[in-house]
Structures are given as structure tokens and as C-alpha cells.
């Protein structure tokens, strides 16, 4: 379908929205594309904000998904600093913060997620930060440096990565986690243990099973994080990294099915056939796992962007991919393939003490559900293939390093 009269409006100019616009043009879509985003800069990558960029190892321009000229050349009408305030599915229009109304034949909601806010006294103090946008990252970077003290509330990936980058910049870092281990929601015990040991060896202080009572400040500026047990962790900046919530309010208001995210199918279509939703704001099917879930990852954003572009262009949906994710901390690269749903056994391949290993999560029948690979890209790549093909493996074979990943995956 390459008629020039079809118009697509994309709400949200982040990783998913920017990619969907580019993919439509790659397919040959010749209609109008309007990409509306409330941030001041064109679509960019968020992963480096807690990693290479924060450590000063990547330039601001390298964050951009594509250079500014691309949008002109590809005839994509990019509207920055502009919020989409409402959707009228019956009239097929969206209203903008500027007061303008845009008509669409197809609408793609790529609204992302925002940092979760927890009700804590002192949240409005200077130096209390979150990390979602490039503007947030600028503030965090300015607060780090030799001798500075960073307190991180929340031991998830973003918090751990920020702590690692802070250490790299010579700052002190303390991670405060409510659960009994870091990465409690997203990784298994062995992996949490590994990262806790690694961070401690790098000089990070980790407080687990620690509730936060308040942020303390003097003269409007944060000076410490008070724990529920009364202790105070002194700091010059406090990063709150306690997860993200989907930006699905305008979808809800428009009557689209939402359930902790905008509900979509494998074509990224919402309950309204003319409206698609992609990326962090969606609750999507995971056919390999027979479940629906909201994922927060770049590969997910890209997969759904591809699904929406294919559907709008009239192509069959691309085959479902194995969900995956990566995280860099110090010189440790973690790559995760799959999700450990229904897994009953964890098998270690490699040497945890040497910092090069993979954890295979198996279901009762030996079906491989997830592989968490630490400095083990071959295991990660092989794991993706094994999961994709629904292979069953025995623990003995996985452990046996004399059996290559090629053999395991074939």
C-alpha cells in the first residue's frame, strides 16, 4: 500500500515512535507521517543515559536515533515540544497541546513510560533526581564527579547502572533496596548475588531490605536519605529508580482497552482497528510463553514498531521474536534472552567466580525458557536460538563445557 493519501500520526517521538516512522519509509509507505513528541529533541536512545553517555564515553549526538536531516529527507513531519492531549477515535483525530487538531487514517501510540513516583517527604528537594530522559541524565551527570556522593533508591537495572557509572566518575555510590536483594523483580537469586558482590568489590555500598522514610535536606537541597530504621545515608544527589509506569492515560480516556498498559495484539493493534500502540506503553502477547506482559526494552519497542509498520503497509506480521535485554555495568555485560516463566530449575554453564557464565532457566520438561548470560555472548545468542526453536535440554549437557553452544543449539 503506497498510496499518498493515507496519513499516519505517531504520538510519542521516542525509540518506538521514531523507529516506526523510519520503518514505514523503509517499506515504501508514501503517505503522510506526522511524528509528535513532547521532548525538545528528536528520537534518541535511552540505554546510554545510564551507561556510556553518563560516564562521558558517548557524545550527545551519538544518542540520536537518526540525524535531524533524516526527518526532512524522509518527509516525516516531526513536531517536537508538542503534547498529544487527546484522541477522538470516532472522528479519527488527535488534539495537540498547541490547540491544533490532526486527522489520521492510522494512529500509532508510542507514548512510552515514565519514572514511577513514590510518595516520599522531600521529593521536591534539589538534587532528588529520576532518570528517564536526556534532560534527567544531564542533571544526574552534573551531580556526579570525584568526591560526590550518590544515593540510589531502587536496585533495578537503571539504579545499578547509574551506580556503576558514578563509580567510574569517581563518585561514591550507595544503593538502597527495599527487597532482600537487588534486581529482585527481574533476575534470579544467583544473578542478584553476582551483581551485589561485583558492585561491592567496586566500592558501592548496598543496603538491602531497607525501606526509605524520607529525603532530608538543608536550604532546599537534598543532604541524605533517611531509612525506615532511622539511619541516614548522606548524599549530594539522590536518584529515585523504582520502576516505570506506562503513559496510557490518553488511551484510557479514548476508551481503548488498557490493563496496566495499552492492550495490543501481535500486529500491535489496539481494540480500535485504526489505532496501534508500540513500546513501553503496551501490554502485549508473548506467544512463546502463552502470556501477555508489558516489556520495557529497546528490542521490544523495535519489534512492535515493525509489527505496526507491517500492518499499516498491508504486510503479514513479522514472526515473533524471543524477548531480550542487555545491561552494562563496569566491564560486565549482561544479556538476557527469554523470560523465566514456568522455569523450575536453574543450570549454571561456565564459572560464576570468574565472571563469565550463563544461567539457563528450564521448565520441568527441560524446555529452555530464559538464558541470563554474563560476559557470555555465545551463550546469549545460542540461548535465543534454543528458545526460539522450543528446544529441550538436559542440565548435564548444559553444564558440560565440552559441548559447544553450537551443538546445544543444533
Amino acid at each position: 500500500m503506497s498510496d499518498t493519501t493515507t496519513s499516519v500520526v505517531i504520538a510519542g517521538a521516542g525509540h518506538a515512535g521514531g523507529s516506526a516512522a523510519a520503518m514505514l519509509r523503509q517499506l515504501g509507505f508514501a503517505g503522510a507521517i506526522t511524528l509528535v513528541g513532547d521532548e525538545p529533541i528528536p528520537p534518541y536512545e535511552r540505554p546510554p543515559l545510564s551507561k556510556a553517555w553518563l560516564k562521558g564515553e558517548a557524545s550527545a549526538e551519538s544518542l540520536a536515533l537518526r540525524p535531524m536531516e533524516f526527518y526532512t529527507t524522509a518527509n516525516i513531519d516531526l513536531r517536537l515540544n508538542t503534547r498529544v492531549t487527546g484522541i477522538d477515535p470516532a472522528a479519527k483525530t488527535v488534539s495537540l497541546g498547541s490547540g491544533e487538531t490532526l486527522s489520521y487514517d492510522f494512529l500509532i501510540l508510542a507514548l512510552g513510560a515514565r519514572a514511577r513516583r513514590i510518595p516520599l517527604p522531600g521529593l521536591d528537594l534539589d538534587g532528588v533526581l529520576e532518570l528517564r530522559t536526556a534532560a534527567d541524565a544531564d542533571k544526574l551527570k552534573a551531580a556526579l564527579g570525584p568526591g560526590k556522593r550518590l544515593a540510589v533508591v531502587g536496585g533495578g537495572y537503571i539504579g545499578l547502572e547509574a551506580a556503576a557509572s558514578a563509580r567510574g566518575l569517581g563518585a561514591e555510590a550507595t544503593i538502597i533496596e527495599r527487597e532482600s536483594r537487588v534486581l529482585a523483580r527481574v533476575a534470579c537469586q544467583q544473578l542478584s548475588d553476582f551483581f551485589e558482590r561485583f558492585h561491592r568489590a567496586q566500592g558501592v555500598t548496598i543496603e538491602v531490605s531497607a525501606g526509605v522514610a524520607a529525603l532530608e535536606g538543608v536550604g532546599g537541597k537534598v543532604t541524605g536519605v533517611r531509612l525506615s530504621d532511622g539511619r541516614v545515608i548522606p548524599c549530594d544527589a539522590a536518584l529515585i529508580g523504582v520502576g516505570a509506569v506506562p503513559n496510557d492515560e490518553i488511551a484510557q480516556a479514548a476508551g481503548l482497552a488498557c490493563d496496566g498498559g495499552i492492550v495490543v495484539d501481535l500486529s500491535a493493534r489496539t481494540s480500535d482497528p485504526a489505532i496501534f500502540a508500540i513500546g513501553d506503553c503496551t501490554k502485549r502477547p508473548l506467544p512463546l510463553y502463552g502470556r501477555t506482559m508489558r516489556l520495557e526494552s529497546v528490542p521490544n519497542a523495535l519489534e512492535q514498531a515493525k509489527q505496526a509498520a507491517a500492518a499499516i503497509y498491508g504486510r503479514p506480521p513479522p514472526p515473533p521474536e524471543v524477548p531480550w535485554f542487555w545491561s552494562d555495568q563496569y566491564d560486565v555485560r549482561l544479556q538476557i534472552a527469554g523470560i523465566p516463566f514456568d522455569a523450575t530449575e536453574i543450570v549454571v554453564r561456565g564459572d560464576i567466580a570468574a565472571g563469565k557464565f550463563a544461567l539457563f532457566h528450564l521448565a520441568e520438561d527441560g524446555l529452555v525458557r530464559a538464558v541470563e548470560a554474563v560476559n557470555a555472548s555465545t551463550e546469549f545468542m545460542g540461548g535465543r536460538r534454543i528458545i526460539q526453536r522450543g528446544k529441550r535440554l538436559t542440565a548435564d549437557r548444559i553444564r558440560d563445557m565440552a559441548v559447544t553452544m553450537q551443538e546445544l543449539a543444533s
Binding site: A22, R25, Q26, L27, E45, P47, P48, L65, R66, P67, F70, A74, V298, P299, L302, P318, P319, E321, W324, W326, D328, R333, Q335, A376, S377, T378, M381, G382, R384, R385, M405, Q406, A409
Partner: protein
């Protein structure tokens, strides 16, 4: 600026300008070349920027070192060949002006 030609799996060539010191992958993405997905943005973490180096360029571009991150990522990329590289791991130099690479059938 040095030129790079990307040849799609169906034979369609695209010649674009690269930037010295930046990767071959970035040149493809900046020009929206179909067939280079680059899901991880050049972190050598996804293997979706896979290309085959044309024989006459292989000497100058070289192959990844055994045991390198790139080699292990490539070991399971879709349809690899002896001349496979991850284009995010090839930095453009003046010497590579005119580089020709081919794209595999798919990146996933």
C-alpha cells in the same frame, strides 16, 4: 566523506556517505537503509547489523579476532559466512572509501 555501498539481499545497491571515525552501521541507519536493523545501537549486543564484506575489501576491513565479542555474537547471527562482520564494529577510515558490503536475507 568516504562512500559506502550497501547491497540489499535482492541486489538493490545503495551508495551513501560515511563519516571517518564512525561506524559503517551508523551510515546505514542515518540513511534508513533497509536490511540493517542495528537493534542495540552499536553496542555489539544484538548482531542485527550483520553484513558480508565484498572479497576485494576483506583485506582492508579484516575479520573479527577469535574469541572477541564480535566473533561470539556472529557465531549465532542469521546465515553467517566466512566474510561476515557486524557493521557497527567497522569504523570508517579514508582507506575504506568505496567499501562495498552485502546484506543477508534477514537480521533475525
Amino acid at each position: 566523506m568516504p562512500k559506502i555501498t550497501f547491497i540489499e539481499h535482492n541486489g538493490t545497491p545503495h551508495t551513501v556517505e560515511g563519516t571517518i571515525g564512525r561506524s559503517v552501521m551508523e551510515a546505514a541507519v542515518n540513511n534508513n537503509i533497509r536490511g540493517i536493523d542495528a537493534d542495540c545501537g552499536g553496542e555489539c549486543a544484538c548482531a542485527t547489523c550483520h553484513v558480508y564484506i565484498e572479497p576485494e575489501w576483506l583485506g582492508k576491513v579484516g575479520l573479527p579476532a577469535d574469541g572477541s565479542q564480535e566473533a561470539s555474537m556472529l557465531s549465532f547471527a542469521a546465515v553467517t559466512q566466512p566474510d561476515s562482520r557486524l557493521s557497527c564494529q567497522i569504523q570508517m577510515t579514508a582507506e575504506l572509501d568505496g567499501l562495498v558490503v552485502r546484506m543477508p536475507e534477514g537480521q533475525h
